[in-house]
């Protein structure tokens, strides 16, 4: 214990600091309960209790039954799952090589590559959407260039399921690269050199040494990407097909255009149900890292 000149302890004992720590954490915890936990519970209750015409409430799974028996709702859910899965795979395929290059390259170009990889973070989704339309949309830059070279037009991904995929992947590159890069920071140069020393080539190095060491980071990066993509709205709304549609635009249309708040809330609860699985992956990974 450090003692001041006056003989008083400079740092309070851990026991006396504990209430202050709890007090500091209490405000954000209460805010999370008020703004996140309670709306979730409230939404679930609203979807499970139906108001009867003659008055009073009754427990009902009607909205869930409808969702899981309605072909359109299911195709929207499967499009969302497909988009999320494809985006997650593409993000890994695109971001892992970038992160590996940034981690192990000594070249000056790496700094520019990092800047380029992080750039989408500063571009709002709506700007990205319009840039996408101007470049890959009908009569966009690519079409004009192909036309100038007397080549046939491409089949534009705009308003197809691939439109949101391209946009969402581009939008999620920065966060994924940063998380993977932070994980790769834990792989020491000497661990790599030791593996090369015992005979590991590039693939063995990646498979046996690097990937197992960054598996938590991969899980966290994918969880974050999946959580964002599953409930994305702007990019699927602007770039995606009218039908089927992803859950974000589907919920918005059900709520605003069809005036069916209970159905929209049910869609939100189902979306939340899928997202929480990845949320639990993330929490598990964080807890695993913090276990002494």
């Amino acid at each position: 214990m450090t003692v001041s000149d006056a003989g008083q302890p400079v740092l309070a004992a851990p026991e006396s600091r504990r209430p202050i720590g709890l007090l500091l954490v209490a405000v954000p915890v209460l805010l999370v309960i008020w703004l996140i936990i309670w709306p979730i519970i409230s939404a679930i209750i609203q979807t499970l209790w139906m108001r009867l015409p003659e008055g009073g409430d009754t427990f009902s799974l009607e909205t869930y039954r409808f969702f899981f028996s309605d072909g359109y709702s299911l195709s929207n859910l499967s499009l969302t799952l497909w988009t999320t899965g494809v985006c997650a795979i593409l993000l890994l395929v695109v971001c892992l090589p970038i992160a590996l290059y940034l981690r192990f390259s000594d070249s000056r170009i790496a700094a520019y590559v990092q800047g380029l990889a992080i750039f989408p973070m500063f571009v709002p989704s709506i700007i990205l959407s319009f840039a996408f339309i101007r470049v890959l949309g009908p009569n966009g830059t690519v079409d004009l260039l192909l036309n100038a070279m007397s080549l046939p037009k491409i089949r534009s991904p705009y308003l197809t399921p691939w439109g949101p995929v391209i946009g969402l992947v581009w939008d999620n590159i920065p966060l994924t690269v940063l998380i993977l890069l932070s994980g790769l920071g834990n792989v020491s140069n000497q661990a790599i050199e030791a593996a090369r020393d015992v005979g590991a080539g590039r693939f063995a190095l990646l498979w046996h040494i690097i990937l197992p060491r960054i598996s938590n980071s991969v899980l966290v990066a994918i969880s974050f990407a999946v959580l964002g993509i599953f409930s994305a709205f702007t990019l699927p709304y602007v770039l995606g097909p009218a039908a089927p549609e992803m859950m974000g635009p589907f919920m918005q249309r059900t709520f605003r255009e069809l005036y069916e708040p209970r159905t929209a809330i049910t869609q939100a609860v189902i979306t939340f149900g899928f997202c929480i699985v990845f949320g639990l992956f993330y929490v598990r990974s964080v807890a695993k890292n913090r276990t002494p």
Binding site: S188, Q190, A191, E193, A194, A195, R196, D197, V198, G199, A200, G201, A204, H208, I209, P212, R213
Partner: protein, 346 residues
Amino acid sequence: MSVLKIKDVSKIFASGQVRAVDNFSLEVADGELVCLLGPSGSGKSTLLRMVGGFERPTSGVMTIDGEDITHVPPEKRPTGMVFQSHALWTHMNVFKNLAFGLKLRKVAPDEIKRRVDAVLDLVGLNGYGTRHVAKLSGGQQQRVALARSLVLEPKILLLDEPFASLDQHLRERLREEVRDIQQRLKITTLFVTHGQDEALSMADRIVVMRDGRTEQIDRPEVIYREPQTPFVAGFIGTMNLIEGNVANGMFSKAGYSTPLPVSDGPAILAIRPEALDLAVTGEGSQGKVHRVTDYGTHGLVDLELNDATRIKAMVPHPDLFKAGQTVTLTPKAIAAYRDGVVIHRA
């Protein structure tokens, strides 16, 4: 039979400003343990990394048993390296750390188990195969790192300051063990250290390096007793280096003088503390006692010459001396240097 030959190897880093290793040549005989010793920045680790394949030489040739390995990548070299930070793979247990290299070589599982068990036995870690490496002590981790290299039966073992992160007691014990294992296996070894104790106690030969160049290559006792340059004299052990002038066969410096049969001119006189006799009274050159330290087995007397130059003398009875006393200095063995080379030894 594994002989390592390094011929005229240089390493200039990309900027072109730093010549880390400068025209270095060395031949390490079969089963020999050679220590690369030098201060930080002397190029010893860069040289070792070039032998391991982790740095490419700018010029020169390296061969193992006559085979040119200069541009062979590390994964294809017949060398095994033990790193300063152990560099164990923390997501694997001890067995998997050791078996990894054998699996890459597609060795049969039974043979892998036999070889891993044998090498664990060799480093005194029998039964530790299933232990997680992160839960081992520093000394045990270093043994695993050594075992990981040995299990592949490399032609040349490279040790890069392997004991630097260990405490003094453990370091002393491990260096004896490593030397025993090296001698038992008769494995050609190149060992980098900046600890002279380590080099003197383990090496068959020591290479003292400075600014990427060789200062002296010799057996430990020769390096200690007959250093060829003032740098080696000052770097190995404790040495009093007194810069003065020789006139008419007498070296003198700030009131201290001693016969030195060399031509007139500047010279550096080198005297080991244990080769300097002190007497409180009597004829001879004089110095003043500044501090006396009693180490139990012997004492160390710090002396000041008239111009405040500090020198040390080792004495068997430190209680005979006190701070402030004037004493006579009588060297039993001296060496003298001029222009960086030895000009007299007696």
